[in-house]
Structure formats: C-alpha cells, structure tokens
Symmetry: C2
Subunit: 422 residues, 2 copies
C-alpha cells in the first residue's frame, strides 16, 4: 500500500472547482467576501447541478438520478456484485450561503475520483460520488430531504408534495422544471458499502484549538416547529390594550421563551427563531396572524423532548392569556445520531498515519451522513471554519485545511474501496 499511501489529491484543481461552482448564484459582500445563493430546485441549482454532472461525465463516471433528484456518479470496481463505497454531500445553499458548506464534500469526493483515474488506480468495490437534493431546507422542509428519502426515512410521494416557503411551488413540479426527476427508485434498492462525508465544521471549535481534522462522532438531535399564531387584526391607535389579541406580542414572548430554554446551566441546547412572517405587516395595524419557526437542537434527546414539552406548554399558556390561537406543526424531527465506531476509529488512525492532528467532535448541524447512517456504516470528517462562521457569505476554510481534509478522505476511501488496505 506504499504507493497508494503516498497518493494525494490536487488541491489547486479542487479549489478551482469550488470557485467555479460558487460563481453560480454568486453573492458579493461589501468587504471582498463572497458566497452563493443557490437554493434547492431553483434555476441556479439547476446550473450548479449541470456543472457537477458535466465534471462527473468528463471523468467517465456513470451518472444516475433518482426520483427525488439525488445525483450519483459511479466509477466501477473489479467486483461487480460489491456495493459501492460512497462519498459526497450537497450543493444547494441557504440564501446568501458560503462556498464550502456541502460543496466541499461533493467536490472533494469528485477530486478523489479524479485522483484515482489520473493514477490509474483500480478498486475492488465501485466508488460513488453523490450530491443529495435539498439538504439545506431553505425552501422546502424537511432539510436533508434527498438523503432522508434515499435512506427510506420519508416516502418519495410525501417529499414530492412539499411546498416551497417562498412561492408555494410543489417540490415535484420544481424538480421536473429543472430536469432532475430521475428514474432510479427511492429509497435506494442497494445500500452503499459505507458513506464518509467531508464537511466544514460550521462552528468555532477546531479553529479555536488549532486542530485541522475533526472526526465526527455523531449529530445532535434537531426539532423544527412552525407556529401559526392567529389573533385579531385591529387599529393600532384606537384599540385599547385590554381588548387586543395580538399575535405579534405572543411571537415576541415565545422568542424570549426560546432563549430562556437554552440558558439553563450546563445546557448544550441551541434555540433559534429564524423565520417570522406577519400579516398584514403594517406599522399601524395589530397583525391578524404571525407565523414563526423554532429550531431547537441538543445532543441529548431526553433534553430535546423536555424542551419541546416546555415550549408547547408555554404556547398554551400565552395563547390563553392573550386570546390567540396557536397551531403548531413539526416541520422536522431527527433524533441524535451516532456514527459507525469502526469508521470513526479508521478515520482517527488514518489521520495519524498522515501526520494530521485530529480530535473527536459532535456535529451541531444536521448532515446527509446522518441519514445514510440508517442504511450503512457512516461517518464524517470536519475541517475548520474560520471564526465558526457558516450560512453566511463570509464562510471560509483555509486551503491547507481543505487539502488535509480531502487527503484524509482519499486515504479512508481507498481503505474502504480495497479491503486489502485495511
């Protein structure tokens, strides 16, 4: 394995592809920072997909698309019956997202394929590079949808019927519109051999400790709730406070309560009100309706369940006091996930063999790998995010850290592709 152990990816080629993809839906900031807005199933998503598919085909990968639009490019192995070793992530972004979130995982997996090709490395198992549909959930809930449907956690029919938060469009129609309604069945008929995803940390820990590699042990639980608060529209000047049923006040009270949920001692919980829509949203009208979302996450499912219970109880209490009605809908609910122990050990050992310092870390964000963990051994590699910034055009990971992460990915995939290496 000495020759193969010396293999390394071409960092310049990888960085060039990252920049080229990020030009699609490019967003420039005032201080030179830049990122992309390539929301799932938009025209820009289509252009991004087309570019990556072109790269896949240029490498001779055979490209397949499934019913939810996940795209898989496969390099054959010598054992045609063996399930594929899979790597990848997503290429959709949030509105004003960075150049690395998801994209790094897809293009590093592609770079591994090109490295194998360039050096004429044959593998026993097939190798599949994948990008999953709608990981971000910026237009359609739930997030991580493509990998969830791929792994059988959500029916294809239900996913295709999802409606966009921006224009109420049906996901299935949007998928046809961009030409990515593929024929492969969902969930997948054949589970991959294994799945390893390279991703930026999106948090401050690795950079803070100066460690280039995070070996991800698992993902915290996620609870997304939408609250629709129906009150009574009224004139802001003539309606005495005592007769109001003001959903904007209730939304504010809930916003403060969500913060309180996260600030008990030793809590690892995070809570976010990311979206608020008021109707009619006019300065001098008490709103008739406010829609808001609550994103709660905790590595401990018991604590997450308790927070959901407290939030629901508070909603009942504040709704009764103000005379509004609150309709609560769960938009997504994922229990904490633990990744495969053997893969975690393999990642750690391989990092050491490459001379890369690593630490074990829990993921604060949800990732496609947690869905794949339902059907095959899965794990993740994190690279540092400068300032912990993500979901922001200022998101950045240093070139050397990208190279370290991608080379670790290459070596771990090689060990999975050819059992002789392990």
């Amino acid at each position: 394995m000495s020759a193969v152990g010396d293999l390394s990816i071409d960092i310049d080629r990888l960085l060039r592809r990252i920049d080229e993809l990020a030009e699609i839906g490019r967003v420039d900031g005032p201080d030179g920072e830049w990122g992309s807005a390539r929301l799932a199933l938009t025209a820009d998503d289509q252009r991004g997909r087309d570019l990556v598919v072109t790269w896949m085909r240029d490498l001779g990968l055979s490209v397949t698309i499934d019913g939810i639009g996940n795209v898989v490019g496969t390099r054959p192995g010598s054992d045609p019956a063996a399930p594929a070793v899979m790597s990848g992530s997503h290429i959709d972004t949030v509105r004003g997202g960075g150049r690395f979130d998801g994209i790094l995982g897809v293009l590093a997996a592609l770079e591994v394929a090109e490295t194998l090709e360039q050096h004429g490395i044959d593998t026993e198992r097939p190798y599949s590079v994948v990008f999953f549909t709608n990981e971000e959930g910026a237009r359609f809930a739930p997030d991580m949808m493509g990998s969830l449907v791929f792994a059988g956690g959500l029916s294809l029919e239900e996913a295709l019927d999802a409606r966009a938060v921006d224009n109420e469009a049906r996901l299935g129609d949007e998928l046809i519109g961009i030409g990515y309604d593929g024929g492969l069945p969902c969930p997948t008929a054949v589970a991959p051999h294994s799945f390893v995803e390279l991703h930026i940390e999106q948090g401050p820990i690795l950079e803070g400790e100066g460690v280039p590699i995070g070996v991800v042990e698992g993902v915290q639980g996620i609870s997304w709730t939408q609250l629709v608060i129906d009150g009574r529209a009224a004139h802001a000047g003539t309606t005495p406070m005592r007769v109001r049923s003001d959903p904007a006040f209730v939304a504010s009270a809930i916003g403060v309560f969500v913060r309180e949920l996260t600030t008990t001692a030793d809590s690892q919980m995070v809570g976010t009100v990311g979206r608020v829509e008021m109707v009619p949203n006019l300065i001098n009208v008490v709103p008739s309706q406010v829609t808001m979302t609550v994103d709660l996450r905790d590595p401990d499912d018991t604590k997450l369940v308790e927070a959901e219970r407290l939030l629901a109880a508070y909603c009942v209490e504040v709704a009764a006091a103000e005379g509004v009605e609150i309709t609560s809908t769960s938009l997504a609910r994922f229990e904490p996930v633990e990744f495969d122990r053997e893969l975690i050990d393999l990642l750690e050992e391989t990092a050491t063999s490459l001379g890369l310092a690593s630490r074990r870390i829990a993921s604060g964000a949800g990732h496609d790998a947690q869905m794949l963990a339902r059907i095959c051994p899965s794990a993740m590699i994190f690279t540092p995010s400068v300032g912990g910034v993500s979901h922001n055009i200022a998101e950045f990971t240093a070139d050397a850290d990208i190279a370290a992460g991608a080379n670790l990915l290459l070596q771990v995939l090689l060990r999975n592709l050819n059992p002789i290496y392990r």
Copy 2:
C-alpha cells in the same frame, strides 16, 4: 333656516357609492364580510381616485389636484373672495382594510354637495370636497402625508422622495405613474375657512354606550419608530448560544418591552409592533438583520415622550447585552392635537337640534383633520364602529349611524357655508 334645517342626505345614494368604491381592490372574508385593499399610489388607488373624480365632475364640481396628489372638488359660493368650507378625508386603505375608514368622510362630503345641488341651495362661501393622498401610511411613511404637506408640515420635496416599504419605489414616481401629480402648489396657498371630517370611530366606545355621534375633541399623540437591528448571521445548529449576536432575540425582547410600556396602572397608552422583517428569514439561520416598527400613542405628550425615552434606553441596554447594533429612525411624530372649541360646540349644538345623542370623545387614530387644524378651525364627527373593529375587512358601521353622521355633517357645513345660519 327652516327649509335648510329640514334638508337631509340621500342615505341610499351614499351607501351605493360606498359599495361601488369598495369593489375596487375588493377583499372577501370567509364569513361574508368584505373590504378593500387599495394601498396609496397603486393601480387600485388610481381606479378609486378616477371613480371619485368622475362623481365630482358629474356634480359640476371644479376639480384641482396639487403637487402631492390631493384632490379637491369645489362648488362655487356667491362670495368669490371667501375661502372654502372644506370637508373630506381619504380613500386609500390598509392591506385588507374596511369599506368605511376614510371613504365615509369623502363620500359623505360628496353627498352633501349632491344634496345642495339637488335642492338648488346656493351658499355664500365655496364648498370643497377633498380626499388626501396616503393617509394610511401603509406603503409610505409618514401617514397623513397628503394633509400634512397640504398644511405645510412637511415639504413637498421630502414627501415626493419617500420610499415604499414594499418595493422601494419613490413616491413622486408612483404619483406620476398613476397620473395624479397635480399642478397646484403645496402647501396650499389659501387656507380653508374650516374643515370638518366625518369618520368612523375605529374603537369600541360609541357602540358600547349606544351613542350614535362622537364629537371629537382631539387626537392623541403618535410616535412611529423604525428599529433596524444588525446582528451576525450564523448557523442555527453549530453556533453556541454564548457567541451569538441574534437580532431576532433582540426584536422579541423589544416586543415584550413595548407591551410592558403600556400596562402600567391607569395608562391610556397603546403600543404596537405591526411590522417585522427578518433577513434572510430562514428556519436554520440566525438572522443577520431584523427591521421592526413600534407605534406608540398617548393623549398626554409628556407620557409619550417618557415612553420614547424608556424605549431608547432599553434598546441601548439589550443591544449591548447581545452584541447587536440598533439604528432607530423616527418615521412619524405628531403631538396630541386639540380641535377648534367653537366648532366642537357647534357640532354638539347641531346634533342636539337634530335630536341625535352625542358624547365628546378623543381620537385614538391619527386623522387628516389634525393636520388641517394647523391652518384652519377643524373638528371631527365620529360614528360607531361595530365591535370597535377597523383596519380589517370586518369593519362595519350601521346604515342608520351613517345617515346620522352624514346629516350632522350636512347641517354643520350649511352653518359654515352661510354665516346667516349661525
């Protein structure tokens, strides 16, 4: 004056016109209630204006339009040098407003003109029916803009440069677009003799007491503030609470604080957060920016000033604690207004002479009459609003109450039009 004292308006004609105007931008509710969305300087506003102007011209009124788009239809008096007795209100609505707010005042004033015409009543002073531009402030701040500019409280240039909250359009351009950029100077070169405005109460008091007529003594002070809260966009899952600068949390805390401002003992203050906009407004992203409005009103200016001071101090405190920046802009600030004492007495005496029960009342809403009070004796008549509901398609005033209010308007205007009647 017996013949003139017996005059009365044609309630069927008035109700027909109210319905006809309300069809423009009609909005239907689920239970048969209906209203209109005719926001200032939109295509529907143009259609509404065109209809009222047609009615004015059909009555032989000479129609003039000033630089801010206020429309005046005048019936000549026998004394060409006398300033006109003026009545009217506005025809723009909020987004999903009622059929009566503003419209009643304009169409009742028009009905008075038709009654005079029909009965061949000549008057000494000219009579002007007016509708003012952008009273609601639903697209452009400040509200009551047309009457404010008419009375010289805001320069025409500044008003024309106002930007729409919905699409950033410049008011002056929108005015040209709908064809209502008139040639008459603003502020008006000649102050009216007097201004009386008929309006629905938009509050619950008259209906609650079973009194058909409110003689309005004055208008409470109004303070509109826009707060732009700049924080730091961040991933909702990976960003520990301790490092967040979350403008959505700050907006919630301010929303709760606004409610607290109004709930001290004996307070008559009302406080409303009517508008909230979040960027990027996604479920899994801590927002980078939240824009919110605060509408505070009180009949006592001292208390209003104190509330503004407390709000500003709280903003400084909560911004420092969360690490966000808050930019506060006053969008409108009107001190409490007292109407003309002689007109108030005249309204009360005339109501009594018509056998109509009345009570004195303070206005919770701002009205064009408070702007006219800067340049001529002004007052208002209120008619009851069922359930106190307004700025809502369920807004309703009973036919008999409309007739009572319009007949009182007719008789008071007659007394102003011909000094001999007083």
